[in-house]
C-alpha cells in the first residue's frame, strides 16, 4: 500500500513538473532509491519502480532493463506474501532474457512457495525446461495436455529442441557403396545425381591414369578427387540429413510458431505487479 502511494506521488509530481518520459521517471525513482538509507524501504521503492515499468503500455520498457532492476531486489526484504510474485517475475524475465539456469531456480522456488496449479504455471515450466531437460519439459507438457488437449501441438517444440537420435547409418552406407545414393535417398535427387556423375568421372580419369602409368598423377589427382568428391558426398549425406525436406521444415517452423502463439494467447504469461 505504502509503495503504491509512493509511486503515485512520485508519478504525479513528475508529471506535474514536466511532461516526462519513462527514462526521466526511472531516473527520478532511481534518485529516491539512491537516497534511501533503509534497505527495506529501498527495496520497496525498487518494487514501485518495477511496477511502473511493467505497467507502461504506450512506451514499453525493454525486458533487459526490467530484469536488471529485478535482480537488484533483495529477497530478504520482500514480504513472504509477495515472494511468489517475485519468483514468477524473475522466472519469466530470466527465461525471456535466455538466462535458463536462473529461470529454473526461480521456478523451483515459485513452486515451493505456492500451490499454483494453473495452466500458466505449467506452460512457463514447460518453456523453462525446454532448453534444459527434455524429460522435465515432457512431464510439464503432459500435465498441460491433461488439462487442455489443444496444447498437444507443443510437442512439436520438444521434437525440434530435442530431436530423436537419427538413424543415419543406412544412408551413409548407401553413400559409401554407391556415391550419391545416400543423398538421393534423403530426397536430394539433383545433388545425388551430380555427385554420382562426378565420382564416376573421377574413377574413369584415375583408371585412365593407371593405364597410362602416370603414377604421380594417379596419386595426386586420386587423393584430390577422392577427398573432394567421394569423402565430400559422404560428409554432405551426413550433414544434410537433419535438414532434409527444407520445404517441410519451413512449414513445421510456421506450425511451431502458430502453436506457441495460440498457447500464449490462451494462457498469457504476464509479469505480475506486486500486491
Amino acid at each position: 500500500m505504502l509503495r503504491i502511494i509512493i509511486a503515485v506521488i512520485i508519478g504525479l509530481c513528475c508529471i506535474e513538473s514536466r511532461a516526462q518520459s519513462w527514462p526521466a521517471f526511472a531516473e527520478q525513482m532511481e534518485f529516491q532509491i539512491y537516497q534511501e538509507s533503509d534497505p527495506k524501504l529501498r527495496n520497496e521503492l525498487l518494487l514501485a519502480k518495477l511496477d511502473s515499468a511493467m505497467s507502461l503500455v504506450n512506451e514499453p520498457v525493454d525486458l533487459h532493463t526490467i530484469y536488471r532492476d529485478c535482480q537488484r531486489l533483495d529477497r530478504k526484504y520482500i514480504p513472504s506474501a509477495q515472494l511468489p510474485t517475485y519468483y514468477w517475475n524473475m522466472c519469466l524475465l530470466a527465461h525471456l532474457n535466455k538466462d535458463h539456469m536462473i529461470a529454473e531456480r526461480h521456478l523451483t522456488n515459485y513452486e515451493k512457495a505456492t500451490r499454483d496449479t494453473s495452466c500458466q504455471k505449467d506452460l512457463l515450466g514447460f518453456l523453462v525446461y525446454l532448453p534444459l531437460d527434455s524429460a522435465k519439459a515432457e512431464q510439464r507438457l503432459t500435465q498441460l495436455i491433461e488439462r487442455d488437449s489443444a496444447c498437444a501441438d507443443l510437442r512439436l517444440l520438444v521434437e525440434h529442441q530435442w530431436p530423436k537420435k537419427q538413424r543415419k547409418g543406412p544412408y551413409l552406407l548407401a553413400a559409401a557403396v554407391l556415391p550419391g545414393s545416400g543423398l538421393m535417398a534423403e530426397g536430394y535427387i539433383g545433388k545425388g545425381t551430380t555427385s554420382l556423375f562426378l565420382n564416376v568421372a573421377s574413377a574413369i580419369a584415375i583408371a585412365a591414369m593407371w593405364q597410362a602409368k602416370l603414377t604421380f598423377n594417379l596419386i595426386t589427382w586420386g587423393l584430390m578427387l577422392v577427398q573432394k568428391f567421394y569423402l565430400g558426398q559422404l560428409n554432405l549425406t551426413d550433414r544434410m540429413y537433419p535438414t532434409r525436406r527444407p520445404k517441410r521444415n519451413a512449414r513445421e517452423q510456421i506450425k511451431r510458431e502458430d502453436t506457441m502463439r495460440n498457447c500464449i494467447l490462451r494462457y498469457p504469461l504476464n509479469l505480475r505487479t506486486w500486491p
Binding site: L2, I5, I6, I9, I10, C13, S17, P23, A24, A26, E27, Q28, E30, F31, Q32, Y34, Q35, E36, L41, T65, R68, R72, A212, K213, L214, T215, F216, N217, I219, T220, W221
Partner: protein, 263 residues
C-alpha cells in the same frame, strides 16, 4: 506510515533542490550499477546547469563507460581540459583501446596526447612499442608479466613478409616455416612436391600440348603463387596476433596495478 510518506515528500523536495548541482555520489551509484538509461537521463537533466566543458566531460565519461566510441570522439575529449586532468578516465580510455582489438586504437590514443601523467605515459609507450617494436630495445624495464610477450613480439618483429614470400618462391613451404607455422609448412612442402612431380611426369610422358599437362601446370601455378602470398600473409597475421597478445597482457597488468574507476 505518515512518517514514511513525509520522508518521501522530503526526498522529492530534495530532488528539485539538488537539480542545479551535480551529485557525484549519485553518479557513482548510477555508474557502478550500470544504469545506462538513468545515467544518461541524469546527465540530460543536468545539461542546462553545467558549463559546456563540464557537460562534455561527464558525457565523455558516460560514453567511455558504455564503450560508445563515435559519441566519445564527438565530444572532443582532447580539447576538454577537465577530461584531460582526469587521470582515471584517461587510463580507462587507454586500457579500453589496448584490450579491445576492434576499437579504434589510434583515435582513442589520440585523446591521451596532451596528458603528461606517468601512468598514462606508460600506456602510451606500450602502444608505441606494439606499433613499432623495432624502435625499442629487446631488454626493457617491464613488469614480469609483460617481459615474455614483449620479447616474443620483439623477436618476431624482425621477420619480414617479403622474406617469407621469397623463401616460399625458392622452396615452397619454407616461407611458412619462416613464419613459424611448421605444420602448414610440412603440408605445403609435401603437397607442392607432389604437384611438381605430377606436372613433370605428365610433361615427359604426354608432352606440353596434352590437356592433362596444361591442367597440371595450371594447378601447380595456382598453388605455387598462392603459397607465396599465403606465406607473406602468415607473417603479417602472426605479427598482429602477437601485438594484440602484448596489448592484452599489458592491459591486464595495468588494470590490476592501477585499479582505475570512473567515479
Amino acid at each position: 506510515m505518515i512518517f514514511r510518506i513525509s520522508c518521501i515528500l522530503w526526498f522529492l523536495g530534495s530532488v528539485n533542490l539538488s537539480l542545479g548541482q551535480i551529485d557525484l555520489d549519485y553518479l557513482q551509484h548510477l555508474s557502478s550499477q550500470n544504469l545506462k538509461l538513468e545515467h544518461g537521463e541524469y546527465l540530460q537533466r543536468l545539461k542546462p546547469t553545467l558549463t559546456v566543458d563540464s557537460c562534455d566531460y561527464f558525457w565523455s565519461k558516460y560514453f567511455l563507460q558504455y564503450h560508445l566510441t563515435d559519441s566519445l570522439l564527438s565530444k572532443r575529449p582532447l580539447r576538454n581540459s577537465v577530461f584531460q586532468q582526469d587521470t582515471m578516465a584517461l587510463l580507462l580510455t587507454a586500457l579500453w583501446a589496448l584490450e579491445d582489438p576492434y576499437s579504434p586504437r589510434e583515435a582513442l590514443f589520440s585523446i591521451l596526447d596532451s596528458s603528461r601523467h606517468n601512468a598514462v605515459g606508460r600506456l602510451k609507450r606500450i602502444e608505441q612499442m606494439g606499433l613499432a617494436p623495432k624502435n625499442f630495445p629487446m631488454q626493457m624495464e617491464l613488469p614480469m608479466g609483460l617481459q615474455e610477450s614483449w620479447q616474443e613480439l620483439r623477436t618476431y618483429s624482425k621477420k619480414s613478409p617479403l622474406k617469407a614470400a621469397l623463401c616460399s618462391a625458392i622452396l615452397p613451404g619454407s616461407g611458412k616455416w619462416y613464419a613459424q607455422r611448421s605444420n602448414t609448412a610440412l603440408v605445403n612442402t609435401v603437397g607442392m612436391s607432389l604437384f611438381a612431380a605430377q606436372t613433370i611426369e605428365s610433361i615427359r610422358k604426354l608432352g606440353w600440348d596434352h590437356a592433362l599437362t596444361i591442367g597440371n601446370v595450371t594447378v601447380f601455378a595456382i598453388f605455387y603463387s598462392g603459397n607465396i602470398v599465403g606465406s607473406a600473409k602468415a607473417v603479417k597475421v602472426r605479427q598482429i596476433e602477437l601485438r594484440n597478445k602484448f596489448y592484452r597482457n599489458a592491459a591486464y597488468y595495468y588494470r590490476r596495478h592501477y585499479r582505475p574507476v570512473l567515479y
